[in-house]
């Protein structure tokens, strides 16, 4: 467990001693160690079963998250090698600042997913807010500073409310087991969940949902999301969109699980369902109207988060399975799209959709990845996201959520047309720029991601299937 945290710290410590040219390879290698650690955990979970300690835990739910954080982290670091080389105007000190905050960010995310203690989870998620603030204001222009300010204020406010929710849960638990660090331990809380006062849990869930929902970008609380995602350097947008928001979702389902074990069924399910539905609809309205492709992707992130919440809200085994599969699919696909858009941005220096035409001639390989990515992200077969979205809709109709399911379907088609219109306008027609040179380190991660989402979409490996199955059982679904 400690390895994951240690590599990030090593990354920070060696930062000042190496020149940037060596540094970036070393940093990427450190992330690779984390990826290897994840594979080791995967194997050890299969042979030894879950582990619950005082500070750390390892079960199928957080293994999925460790997988997402380490895989996407490694690929993003690989991508950053090329991205930062293309950003020629940045000085050495600025690049070190980038790696410092990114490592701090990765550190807090790893802490978030491996800890077993709700209190430490809170501390870690607030730490992610703080470590990303200066990454959002990285370019120090008007819009970047504005986005960073909105981000730190809104997210701190939301997360502070979530702390109050966690305190209320703790209050309910210490009446049964007594005060102490153990009473914030997720595993311990689950065991006494049925005895906790129901009113207390209801209020606490509202606070938690408002808090972590802000961080996750659920509908009425999403205002920071498009700004922050469009202003941050693109590798960070990818990390935030696919990993950070997944981590917030992870905290929500951990606490959701406590409430489900306590028997709060319908109340929780409905709140999540309608919040998710609202997010999807709002994203469907904004996506066709976006003039900036990074903002468009940010709204698409909102849509995916909406789908996750929606399918948890349906409350059957299949829908929960779809939600966790969607989490993985979203992380892989959205990273691919952000990497593609980052390559466009760093070569052409414009975020406006209508200024860019003929990408197939300007950046041929990137354009190819982006074109396939558009279909992957809108949920067309044979990509991985299709499987999860299809399962979500299927279980929605099966459980009798007819008009909700139809609305989601309508949202999907609007989003599909929005995406196709914006991106294919950029890809085809007469090129508006001359052909640019593509960086090999920016193409490799995109290629890996594309192969993964097609491969998983066609044949989902049995290991992953059983992993998600056991994760659903760990969280526990019962109406």
């Amino acid at each position: 467990m400690i390895t994951l945290l240690l590599t990030e710290l090593i990354g920070i410590v060696i930062l000042p001693f190496l020149a940037f040219n060596k540094n970036r390879y070393v940093q990427a290698f450190l992330q690779f160690i984390n990826f290897a650690t994840f594979l080791y955990f995967f194997k050890s979970l299969k042979t030894n079963g879950p582990y619950y300690g005082t500070y750390f835990m390892l079960d199928s739910v957080n293994l999925i998250l460790i997988g997402i954080v380490s895989t996407i982290g490694f690929l993003t670091y690989l991508y950053s090698i090329g991205y930062l080389e293309k950003e020629k105007q940045l000085k050495e000190a600025k690049l070190k600042e980038f790696y410092f905050w990114t490592n701090a960010f990765m550190f807090s995310m790893f802490l978030l997913v491996i800890t077993s203690n709700l209190g430490i989870m809170w501390v870690a998620i607030e730490a992610t807010t703080l470590s990303t603030t200066f990454l959002i204001s990285f370019y120090k222009n008007k819009t970047a500073v504005e986005a960073a300010w909105k981000y730190i204020m809104l997210c701190s406010l939301g997360i502070a409310l979530a702390l109050f929710g966690i305190i209320l849960i703790y209050f309910g638990v210490i009446n049964i087991t007594g005060a102490g660090l153990g009473s914030l331990n997720w595993e311990n809380i689950i065991q006494v969940a049925t005895k906790i006062n129901k009113e207390l849990l209801k209020i606490s869930f509202i606070f938690v949902l408002v808090g972590f929902g802000t961080k996750m970008g659920l509908a009425p609380l999403h205002f920071w999301l498009p700004d922050a995602h469009s202003e941050a350097p693109t590798p960070i947008s990818a990390l935030m969109s696919s990993v950070l928001l997944s981590c917030s979702f992870y905290v929500i389902i951990r606490i959701f699980s406590i409430d489900i074990h306590a028997g709060l069924g319908n109340y929780i399910y409905h709140t999540l369902l309608y919040m998710g539905l609202f997010s999807i609809m709002l994203a469907a309205i904004f996506i066709p109207r976006s003039k900036d492709y990074k903002r468009l992707l940010a709204y698409s992130t909102m849509e995916h988060m909406g789908i996750l919440a929606f399918s948890v809200g349906i409350g059957s085994f299949e829908s929960f399975f779809a939600s966790l599969l969607g989490l993985i699919a979203h992380a892989l696909t959205k990273t691919l799209m952000f990497m593609g858009s980052g390559s466009i941005l760093v070569n052409l220096h414009t975020k406006s959709i209508k200024d860019i035409k003929g990408l197939f001639a300007i950046l041929p390989i990137t354009a190819f990845f982006v074109a396939l990515g558009v279909f992957a992200i809108t949920g067309a077969p044979p990509f991985l996201l299709f499987v999860s979205e299809f399962l979500t809709l299927l279980s929605a109709f099966k459980e009798g959520f007819m008009w909700q399911g139809m609305l989601v379907l309508l949202g999907f088609s609007l989003i599909f047309f929005g995406f196709v219109e914006s991106f294919f306008g950029m890809l085809t027609k007469e090129p508006t720029f001359s052909e640019k040179k593509e960086h090999i380190f920016m193409l490799i991660p995109m290629g890996i991601l594309l192969v993964t989402i097609i491969g998983f979409g066609l044949f989902l490996p049995n290991d992953i299937k059983t992993l998600i199955d056991s994760a659903v059982n760990t969280i526990g679904v019962k109406r």
Partner: protein, 222 residues
């Protein structure tokens, strides 16, 4: 007149005092005054926590009280003061909602939180003092949120957030006798770092926008 005030009454009094300072915050016209009120509010909070030690006999609270005193009553106000000194500007607060209405809204907030808490926690809480302090804490939380939305100045919004944080810590003290030590230290660390980062960001805002007025932050729109 009976001057024998019991310990619990005194704890309640100090908690109420920090609510008073929180509300005074909304009526403050000047930035330096707002920072001073925040200092006093944190002071009242730390005294509340310190006295709760003798009420609950939970000695971890002493450390929390000392940390509150150090970080919230000394360090953060000093950082804030340095920021206001460096940024020379007209110091008035610039409200979205004017001061009279602000106070009125705060009154409603207080009434609402006492009402809400008296209904929900009647069955759960064991002592009436705990219940009253929890209501006060919730009132402080809402006043903090109100402050964040009703003021244009970036610095006041930060103070609003810190007020909200104080409310949460007070709530934690009254209901669960303080969080476990590691978590509590983590929370303090996060808040401290957050306040400093917000301070640095205020410098950037000043640099790029020539003003601390957050209503001018409106470039990002659809």
């Amino acid at each position: 007149m009976n001057l024998n005030i019991s310990l619990s009454e005194f704890v309640e009094f100090m908690a109420a005092l920090s609510l008073f300072f929180a509300i005074l915050q909304t009526a403050s016209h000047r930035l330096d005054f707002a920072i001073k009120t925040y200092t006093f509010q944190s002071l009242a909070l730390s005294i509340t926590m310190f006295l709760s030690v003798f009420y609950y006999f939970d000695y971890e609270l002493i450390l929390s009280a000392v940390l509150t005193l150090l970080i919230k009553a000394i360090l953060i106000p000093n950082v804030m003061k340095k920021i206001t000194e460096k940024i020379v500007e007209d110091e008035s607060v610039k409200p979205f909602i004017n001061f009279t209405y602000s106070i009125l809204i705060c009154v409603f907030i207080v009434i609402f939180s006492f009402y809400a808490m008296s209904n929900t926690f009647y069955s759960v809480s064991s002592s009436s003092m705990m219940q009253k302090i929890l209501a006060i804490a919730v009132a402080i939380i809402f006043v903090g949120i109100f402050l964040m939305f009703a003021r244009k100045k970036a610095l006041i919004q930060v103070i609003g957030f810190l007020t909200l944080e104080n409310g949460i810590i007070l709530g934690a003290t009254s209901t669960v006798k303080g969080l476990p030590l590691i978590v509590e230290v983590g929370v303090f660390f996060d808040v401290f770092v957050g306040a400093i980062m917000a301070g640095i960001l205020i410098f950037h805002i000043k640099d790029t926008f020539d003003s601390l007025d957050t209503s001018k932050l409106s470039d990002l729109k659809e």
